[in-house]
């Protein structure tokens, strides 16, 4: 039997993120003191130290900052998934997230390619944001 994949277990800081995800919304924190987007969720702004982080909704669009195609799964839980693409995605609002890039052919992923965020259900109540390629133009 394939061991279970690690799934999100919300903490005090991240619960609003996952609650929004459960409704199909991608949210991030914005610091009103230094006007900066923050991710992963925190309880104070790591840039300026202010406790003025407010949740905002993202449009769910961004581009690939970097990517890698995993051929050798780091844990047994991901053995059946190889090859799969892990990408660092720069969301248009100015924060970065890790996602799987869900294009058809891993060899076609390119830095700078546009993506939109979709949510994938899993065994937990908290769907995972994932990146789907968007055609240019």
């Amino acid at each position: 039997m394939t061991p279970a994949k690690p799934l999100p277990k919300p903490t005090a800081e991240t619960l609003p993120f996952w609650q929004a995800a459960a409704q199909g919304k991608l949210v991030f924190q914005h610091c009103s003191a230094c006007n900066r987007a923050q991710f992963p969720p925190a309880n104070h702004c790591p840039a300026c130290g202010n406790r003025s982080l407010r949740w905002q909704e993202s449009a769910g669009s961004g581009s690939i900052h970097s990517h890698t195609t995993v051929q050798r799964a780091p844990t047994a839980a991901f053995k059946n998934d190889v090859p799969y693409v892990i990408a660092l995605i720069d969301l248009d609002e100015g924060f970065r997230m890790m996602m799987n890039w869900r294009g058809d052919d891993p060899a076609t992923a390119r830095i700078g390619d546009r993506i939109r965020v979709v949510f994938e259900a899993n065994a937990s109540p908290w769907p995972l944001p994932q990146a789907v390629p968007v055609q240019a133009g």
Binding site: K5, P6, L7, P8, K9, P10, T11, T14, W18, F39, P40, H65, S66, H67, T68, T69, V70, Q71, R72, A73, P74, T75, A76, A77, F78, D81, Y84, I86, A87, L88, R96, M97, M98, M99, N100, P106, I111, N122, L128
Partner: protein, 377 residues
């Protein structure tokens, strides 16, 4: 000052345990310095994946039967060994200790499966925002490598050259894990682990141990061949790669600048370098981020043989993590041990002629935690 160093044999060592490797390395460093167990009044240990213990340093002292004045264990991934030496220097400088034993070891090759070691290391990833996506250490470094190739146009051949040079170095070291020569083709045709990184771009999983004894200036003077630590520095920018401020510039820039400033030296003054090489890309980005080479030039230099014996910057003359071996925190300590042997002129077939200054660097996590040391003869 550093008064004693030792490494155990490295590779698959049947019958070894985490503690036996610690003991063997510590004994070797004591003999090297001409000290006895009873001289040790400070002990710093790191961590073990094969035999994890929440108080490894206390367990070690119990195992060998010593009762030091100061004892604790540290965890900063691959830079732990350099940080141990930096803290030990503070302990002796403030008069807390006379001789601090920094000792590391793990039996990752025979004490756990290769899959087990790789899986345990996946826990460096963010529990909610990285691990659900199947991250591990090689994919995280794959992300760094892809971005680096994109920004600076480095080639896979340049990455491969780093691996080939490290194997050439390891062939000159009797204790190395992998000594049989490899070619650029071997590296570039090895199977992809996480693109663009291939199997031979990745470090080994080895059994092994290493120890370094740091002594107060007046206490170390009488040891066999003491060496000064001329400069030390750390740099910390993030833990998780998703939160890294840059994929091409890292805390090694700050750590090396601090170490160079303290030593009153610059990269061009370094005769031999021992720099963390968990992957070929690790060494490439660090060499440039720290200013040893211009942007995009470290790979060119590697391909031209400049990191080899007789090159402009002989680097990882023991073979590094790529070929000498990687045994957890001991992996980073092998770099320190080799730097000391080079400066003492005890590196035999690997000896860099007239080596007087050595630069040592460790990196923990995903280029997250950095510590640089500059040693002088």
């Amino acid at each position: 000052m550093i008064s004693g160093v030792a490494n155990t044999r490295v590779g698959e060592i049947a019958g070894s345990s985490c503690m036996s490797l610690h003991e063997e390395a510590a004994r070797g460093a004591l003999e090297d310095a001409g000290l006895h167990w009873s001289d040790i009044d400070g002990v710093l240990c790191a961590y073990s994946l094969a035999e994890p213990h929440p108080m490894l340093a206390s367990a070690f002292c119990e195992f060998v039967g010593i009762h030091p004045n100061v004892c604790t264990a540290l965890q900063s991934g691959g830079t732990t060994a350099c940080i141990m030496v930096m803290l030990a220097e503070s302990l002796v400088a403030t008069g807390q200790c006379r001789h601090v034993l920094c000792v590391t070891g793990d039996n990752r090759a025979t004490g756990m499966s290769r899959d087990g070691a790789v899986a345990a290391l996946a826990e460096f990833g963010h529990a909610q925002f990285e691990r659900p996506y199947g991250i591990g250490i090689p994919p995280a470094y794959g992300l760094v490598a892809q971005r680096y190739l994109h920004e600076y146009g480095a080639t896979l051949e340049q990455l491969a050259a780093i691996s080939v040079e490290h194997r050439r170095h390891a062939a000159r070291h009797p204790d190395a894990h992998k000594r049989e020569p490899i070619s650029l083709d071997d590296v570039m045709r090895s199977r992809v682990i996480s693109s663009p990184l291939r199997l031979l771009d990745c470090c080994l999983v080895s059994d092994g141990g290493a120890a370094v004894i740091v002594s107060a200036a007046d206490a170390g003077r009488d040891t066999r061949a003491p060496l000064k630590v001329l400069g030390m520095g750390q740099g910390h920018t993030h833990e998780h790669i998703v939160a890294a401020p840059s994929l091409t510039d890292f805390g090694c820039k700050q750590s090396s600048q601090r170490a160079f400033a303290q030593a009153g030296l610059k990269p061009a003054d370094i005769d031999v370098a021992q720099i963390y090489d968990s992957f070929t890309i690790t060494l490439l980005v660090e060499l440039e981020s720290m200013g040893f080479f211009e942007r995009g030039q470290a790979g060119v230099a590697a391909l031209a043989g400049e990191l080899g014996l007789g090159g402009k910057l002989p680097c990882n003359t023991h073979g590094g993590l790529l070929s000498f071996g990687h045994s957890g925190a001991a992996g980073g300590m092998f770099h320190i041990v080799e730097a000391v042997r080079q400066l003492r002129g005890e590196a035999d077939a690997r000896q860099v002629k007239d080596a007087r200054t050595a630069f040592v660097h460790g990196d923990g996590g995903i280029l997250s935690a950095h510590c640089s040391l500059i040693l002088g003869s």
